[in-house]
Amino acid sequence: MPGKAVLTGTHFMNGDEACCEGALAAGCRFFGGYPITPATEVAERMSKRLPQVGGVFIQMEDEIASMAAILGASWGGQKSMTSTSGPGFSLMMENIGLGLCTETPCVICNVQRAGPSTGLPTLVGQGDMMQARWGSHGPYEIIALCPASPQEMFDFTIQAFNLSEQFRLPVLIMADEVVGHMNERVVIPPADQITVIDRAKPNVPPAEYLPYHPGPDGVAPMANFGDGYFMHVTGLTHDERGYPTMTPAAQVEMTDRIVGKIRNNLDRILDYETLFLDDAQVAVVAYGISARSARGAVLTAREAGLKAGLVKLNVAWPFPEDFIRELSGRVKTMIMPEINLGQMVLELERLAQGRCAVRLVAHPGGTIISPRRIVEAIRQALEERP
């Protein structure tokens, strides 16, 4: 008997497993992957679950192949996914670029560990955030979500698929080892209460189809292999017909589209939560597991009468530029805790432009940032002379 794609109910599971259940609930039916700690549990659960729902799991020969395979599967009409961690993420970069250039929906879950190189395979890191944004060559925009709990692994994976289908691009889930491995309650709603978005299909006859002619929202409808549209898909700079066009003008038009469809739809993509921000003098801006440390720190600070607030970035890329710019004009200090030596904090500095102080609470990886260190930073920030 075919198993259920949506395991409605209350579960106790880890983040990696919750990611799988989110993927299946969103309609993912193809997974190509390669084992790597701490993302292996995603592949393992997918290998068990996909055959139950009529999908295909394949363990590829490496992460380059995994990334290529999920692009191919997407053009074959299936929602597809892979999961990895630092070393594998590095190997995927070229084909992530192919996915961006050819506007191919798919999802990559990076359960971050500490690097560089093989680093600390079993221990937490958040050091791939700038790689997520800039790691593939050339100009592009990317979408990256940052879950902070197994429940968010479930919810954000569904959202990642929905965004990838809506905007036609590889979407990154930038999780981390602690979120991937921690066990917590995960509530899976009934299938009819889950919003699932599918790619727009062309509704013109094949002779009139322009595979890269954007619709009103800047996104072109996508035909799949077998639909009879005879599209050409290339990672070379191409025109609206999808044909290689080796001119600067074609490059401008194409990159305008792949960048514009994100920049012009920020209201549908950006997602952040705030706490105690109204009267905050110090704003802690955080993502992923560090947002949980930050939340604890802000609650402690408030109990001590310190005017601290929290911004939890659910979507780290695109960065909420307008909001942070505005925030920098009304707080004394913004603090970024992150498990690297300063990546997303550069965004705060870039946007604050000196309107407020920006402080980093960093750890190079292997352990989470303790709330105590963030409370300390809040205290110091309030004591600093402007």
């Binding site: 295909v56 380059i64 192949a65 599967a73 299936q78 799949n224 070379l236 290689p244």
Partner: protein
Amino acid sequence: MTTALAAAPPRHPHDDLLRTERIPHIWCSGCGIGIVFGSLMAAITKSGLARQDVAVVSGIGCTGRMAGYIRLDSFHTTHGRAIPFATGLKLARPQGKVIVASGDGDLLAIGGNHFIHAARRNMDLTVICVNNFNYGMTGGQLAPSTPFGAKTTTTPQGNPDEPFNFCALAAACGASYVARWTALHIRRLTNTILEAINHKGFSFVEIVAPCPTAFGRRNKIRGALDLLKFYYDRSVVKNHLAPGEATIDFDHNLVVGKFVEFDRPTFLDHYQMVNRGEVEAWPATGVDASAAGQRKAG
């Protein structure tokens, strides 16, 4: 008369399969890729498959441009990654026929690992490799097929590397259909590609083809026809020869023919069998549980 002038230009039998609006193509005159491309189109037509059920996937290189000229769902991917891309495409839509067409460097240098594993899995793909003994697109560098001693732009004194035999490799890895022709064996090549397309499983067709511009020129065989004939004249047809013995020897023994053809379940066949519970647990003979338990405790 104006009516005569207005008449449609004569159509070529392959025009339905060509993105005619993209012609002229980028290939040099005398390049062997065009011949292979013509054979591929002829074989697709002969196969009788509905056009929407056939896809062509290429990597990067002169040969990799085939995907850009064929009027089918066609994918021009990254250098070396045509096979894993095609793997995903095929598994997502198993009723479709997926053909990979690419160069020797693309499929067997940077893409060599994918080639090995797709053959091992007997992935249901048809892989067509134009072997022009060098990297044509980038101006003629060393390839894993470049003959020992041959000159390329990165082996200006002659190639110190040994090339390897793609057909032997494919067969050793588990490919269930393996053949090689030169670009002048057009009729046999077309039939072979047709057979490969109809074959269920990993089929591999290597075509020894001239690249007069980048390879011939540096090795004193400048004329396109001379190079075409050079390969053809040295070829000997030896069907069903053990692929390991099917050498590419330019002195007298450039072996061509169909070397391997047999049926075995594809990746997807096996995947479905396993998931239906039709495959016996490994090892088939079973183990003595009590003995295993003792070892574990010890």
